[in-house]
């Protein structure tokens, strides 16, 4: 048995689920919690039976006994907290988006690379059983060449913008919080890199609210292997939630839906097949056991630095395009 790993969690909204998942892993123990809200801190720490409680994140990131820090605070606190954790030699799980602008992302990447420690982020659709199966088919060549994809984040959570902390931040982008999941998924599924992005946004759903940015954004992505894709983030759809994903290959087509997906291998009715593999079927802490394995084995986690920062670079280019009205080349820093 390897040495026990000690974890500190910052931000106890989703962070409570991180704490639960870590504590379920053998040889891993959550030893300290942090939240800026003392009431939330007490409630979660009592529920999870953790005695070391802090309102200052540095009590976690600078604690020499802690090996791993999970950062689940507001998005605009991620970078300073993650950099502090890396400077103190911790492995870090940061909720997405890890950063809100290119400069911050570059500083974070540098801190991570200098530390020699691992980073991961909750780009969790890769963990869904249905999408894992789809990747297996694509990797095996069943789809032929990938021609086009549509990957959309469709979820009615407008209140998160109009009432929650996201709307109170100086800046927020729905691609960074929602569409990012599908950008990561599409990039991972086909193993190609995005070279350029064109984005458009509007603000009809949240007009007149405290939220001041587009609530709906559509990005078009061109991949280096030739595939093209659409990525929409809509946070106020009049429909049930869905990670819409259509993958069009030269041999097969995949269409996600609930409860079942469809797989086509031609254009006749007989060419339509049902995919019942569970979706989404994921809990918030599902990537953590794999992250722990990676740390113990000294290898990159399923979602590692290259994935995280490349997906952020695509998001930054997409937002730049929304603002400028021009197609933007993606400038990768890693």
């Amino acid at each position: 048995m390897s040495k026990p790993l000690k974890v500190g969690v910052i931000g106890l909204g989703v962070g409570e689920q991180h704490a639960i998942s870590y504590n379920e892993i053998e040889g891993v123990e959550v030893v300290a919690l942090c939240d800026i809200d003392p009431g939330q801190l007490t409630e979660v720490a009592d529920r999870q039976g953790i005695s070391s409680r802090h309102t200052d994140y540095k009590a976690i990131t600078e604690n020499p006994d802690i090996d791993i820090v999970s950062i689940c605070s507001y998005d605009d606190h991620h970078v300073e907290q993650a950099i502090s954790a890396f400077e103190n030699g911790k492995h870090v799980m940061v909720e997405k988006p890890v950063a809100l602008n290119r400069g911050d992302a570059e500083r974070l990447l540098r801190a991570q690379q200098d530390s020699g420690k691992f980073i991961t982020s909750n780009l969790i659709l890769r963990h869904s059983a249905r999408f894992k199966e789809l990747k297996g088919w694509i990797d095996a060549g069943d789809f032929g060449d990938i021609v086009a994809m549509e990957g959309d984040y469709i979820h009615q959570i407008l209140w998160k913008l109009t009432e929650g902390w996201r709307g109170k931040m100086d800046f927020y982008c729905v691609t960074y919080g929602g569409g990012i999941h599908l950008i990561d998924l599409m990039r991972w599924l086909i193993g190609q890199e995005v070279v350029e992005v064109t984005g458009m946004g509007n603000q009809i759903l949240t007009a007149g609210t405290q939220y001041k940015y587009p609530d709906t954004i559509i990005n078009l992505l061109r991949f280096d292997g030739g595939a093209i894709a659409k990525n929409m983030s809509i946070l106020g759809p009049q429909r049930t939630q869905l990670h819409a994903l259509n993958v069009y290959g030269t041999k097969k087509t995949f269409v996600n839906d609930t409860p079942n997906a469809k797989l086509f291998d031609g254009d006749d009715a007989a060419n339509e097949h049902v995919v019942t593999t569970p979706y989404p079927g994921i809990r918030k802490g599902d990537l953590l056991p794999g992250f722990i394995d990676a740390i113990r084995e000294g290898r990159e986690p399923l979602v590692g630095a290259r994935d995280i920062f490349r997906v952020m670079d695509i998001c930054f280019a997409a937002w730049e395009s929304v603002q400028s009205g021009r197609t933007v080349k993606v400038n990768y820093q890693i």
């Binding site: 409570e16 689920q17 639960i20 504590n23 379920e24 009592d46 529920r47 999870q48 039976g49 909750n122 969790i124 869904s128 059983a129 979820h155 009615q156 959570i157 049930t240 939630q241 609930t258 409860p259 079942n260 019942t276 593999t277 569970p278 979706y279 989404p280 079927g281 994921i282 809990r283 918030k284 802490g285 599902d286």
Partner: protein
Amino acid sequence: MTGEFDLSNLDRQPFDEGFLGGPVYRLLDPSPDATLLRSLEEWAVAEAAVLVIARVDETKAGVFSDTGFRLVERLITYQRDLNHPAPGPSEPVRMAKETDIDGCAEIAQHAFSHDRYHADPMTKHVAADIKAAWTRNDLAGRADTCFVAERDQVVAGFNLCLLRDEVAVIDLIATAPNAQRRGVGRDLVRAALRHYIGRATTMRVGTQASNEASLALYESEGFQMVSRQSTFHLSAKAISR
């Protein structure tokens, strides 16, 4: 509203809600399919449900894999016919009195660890209090008959039984942690069997598959397994979107 769900499929759980501070539901459909679970998950998130409980036959539990539901218990139900005699307890077991309530509630605070409340990180903080309150309710009149065993003149365990249509159900049974391995549980089961022979046709008890001492006890007292079920908990807070 993002989710829609047929509410006739759910039963509110006011007892649990008193401890968990938010809406708690039990799924009534004994064999839900993936479509139903999917819409239930969405609905639970939209409603910020603190807890949704689902219990299904073990053979139907596969549909919960890769959902937001967490397996919290494998429940085994045993049954014994009451048409043949049972041996008596090795030491006397008596009916509970009102003055036993505090002592039994104290045992309940510490004796349980295999149940679904303890197994779920979102409910374990109130698990001991739930068991204590449940014990008090049974002793205050919910149970049909309450048995108490003593060791060294101190209450060492209890067996609280319900009577449902000629079936005696062991609702809660516990031995104080410091009195375990002294035959207290066996005495309490035997006392209940003796009491209900002639008053009920069968005795039923549910226990967790993880509770090996308990499984061995019931099997050695002539109980036979009649069902294996899996209990799942869903917390809106735990689901990733």
